[in-house]
């Protein structure tokens, strides 16, 4: 027998930690999507695909800015002391993943704006003719565009891995104590972004390419999830207990059905059939991938808060 009773009754702490609600998973999901979009867009720039008039690298930066801003709104809504949010930018705390993230987010905006400068909105361009000059200058320097592509990929990867590192740096929660959580969130963000671009891409080549790439990302994601769970199961007892929550416990049904089943395996089968021309491309599979990625974040955030060192006793 091992029984612990406590008189503590703090809101959002007891009986189990629930300090992070819907806002953080939504932010992590949108951050992951933006990361994936920046990696894809940056890759297209690097490969010189901007020469194609309907290349997705022209509209992905717009979507990235919108989604990233929505994510930051979610993050802001989560803060309990909202009027003090500016304190994030009066200091840089080298040991804090959140401090790194807040500064990375600030650096990402200029990169996305430079991306947008390659094709600014027509209304803005008409009002500010100088933008047209800048656009022409940018487009006449292929090497510069390559470098912008590399920077876009670099900062995209930065956001993607930061969303995982944010959680895994909080060692008090055994489920998050994994050195590959960043990889899981990065690859999940990539698969979600590839699915999204696959649906909206106007360029047929890009649509086909991203459907194939998404299949590869989903297969890698399955391996990373397996490694994540194996890593936890073979670590300390509390981490093994945390993995059990996903494998057999309270979160198992939603994890297996919505993340693994409808989020990865079913869309993977549909997309494999589609790229082999057995069935037509439909938006069903990509939508399933995107929703699966969102549910993955919800489960990891909720189950992580539920996992605790006291499970050892």
């Amino acid at each position: 027998m091992n029984e612990i009773t406590t008189t503590r009754h703090n809101h959002m702490i007891d009986p189990s930690l629930t300090v992070w609600g819907w806002e953080i998973p939504v932010y992590l999901f949108l951050g992951g999507m933006v990361a994936g979009m920046m990696l894809i867009s940056g890759y297209f720039l690097f490969k010189g695909r901007h020469k194609e008039d309907n290349c997705s690298c022209y509209y992905l930066p717009y979507m990235s800015i919108i989604l990233l801003s929505l994510g930051m709104v979610a993050l802001f809504l989560d803060l309990e002391h909202k009027l003090y949010v500016w304190r994030l930018y009066t200091t840089f705390q080298i040991t804090s993943a959140m401090s790194w993230g807040s500064w990375i987010l600030v650096l990402v905006y200029p990169i996305l704006i430079v991306n947008i400068m390659m094709r600014p909105p027509k209304i803005v361009e008409e009002k500010l003719p100088i933008l047209k000059e800048w656009k022409n200058k940018l487009l006449s320097h292929p090497l510069l565009i390559k470098n912008i592509g590399v920077l876009t990929m670099f900062f995209g990867a930065g956001i993607g891995l930061y969303t995982g590192v944010l959680l895994s740096s909080l060692g008090a929660r055994p489920l998050w104590s994994s050195s590959i959580l960043w990889l899981l969130f990065l690859i999940s963000g990539l698969s979600g972004a590839a699915a999204f671009v696959h649906v909206i891409a106007k360029n047929v080549y890009e649509r086909e390419l991203l459907a194939k790439a998404d299949n590869a990302f989903l297969i890698v994601e399955l391996f990373v999830i397996a490694l994540f769970l194996i890593g936890l199961k073979t670590a300390t007892e509390v981490q093994a207990n945390a993995a059990d929550m996903l494998l057999f416990g309270d979160f198992a049904s939603s994890f297996w059905v919505f993340v693994i089943g409808f989020g990865i395996i079913v869309p993977l089968i549909i997309q494999l059939l589609a790229v082999n021309h057995k069935i037509h491309h439909t938006p069903i599979a990509p939508i399933m991938v995107i929703i699966g990625g969102l549910i993955l974040r919800f489960i990891i955030v909720a189950a992580g808060q539920y996992s605790h060192w006291y499970a050892l006793n």
């Binding site: 406590t6 008189t7 804090s96 060692g171």
Partner: protein
């Protein structure tokens, strides 16, 4: 530099909650919240069952994850005794420190900032004991400098068996329980 800590004699603690009430009164802790609390742990197999009653709070860890994860520096080591404090007007309420604490010792104050035990630093700096220590009717709580070999707390740790909470979390807690 001093390293303030507590030594709590679980053989004397009766779980009366005087320390909890004293803390709430001294620090104006909002209703429904607590900076310290009583934990009762029973373990073993009949007939060899053991029960430990102990008063718990922030462990003012030497390697505090709440300090290292704070994005604004609001959570910090105080100059006096390495006590972990939160600057209310630097805290943005992101709750990363709450998620990083293996002891769940923090909570969000209704005014928005994160709050926790301060070892009653305002009293300690005047040479007094923390409120919880000063009211304990069984004298089970001891406060002092763990780095001073002649302090009351160091002497107790030399003479008795003790344990800390979740040492495997690696945070080097500074509250010890005599068994």
């Amino acid at each position: 530099m001093a390293r303030y800590g507590m030594v709590i004699d679980t053989k004397k603690c009766v779980g009366c909650q005087d320390c909890v009430i004293a803390c709430q009164a001294e620090n104006n802790v909002p209703q429904g919240f607590c900076r310290d609390w009583i934990t009762t742990e029973s373990k073993g197999k009949f007939p060899t069952i053991e029960m430990e009653i102990r008063t718990e709070r922030c462990n003012h860890c030497t390697d505090a994850p709440c300090v290292s994860c704070c994005p604004t520096g609001a959570s910090h080591y105080h100059d006096v005794g390495g006590v972990i404090l939160v600057n209310h007007d630097e805290c943005i309420g992101c709750k990363a420190c709450i998620a990083s604490c293996p002891y769940d010792a923090r909570y969000v104050h209704p005014e928005g900032y994160v709050d926790k035990c301060t070892f009653c630093i305002h009293r300690v700096e005047k040479g007094e004991d923390p409120a919880c220590v000063s009211v304990c009717p069984t004298y089970c709580m001891h406060f002092g400098d763990l780095d001073d070999p002649n302090s009351d707390v160091s002497q107790l740790l030399k003479s008795r068996k003790y344990h800390s909470l979740i040492p495997e979390a690696g945070t080097k807690p500074n509250i010890f329980y005599l068994t």
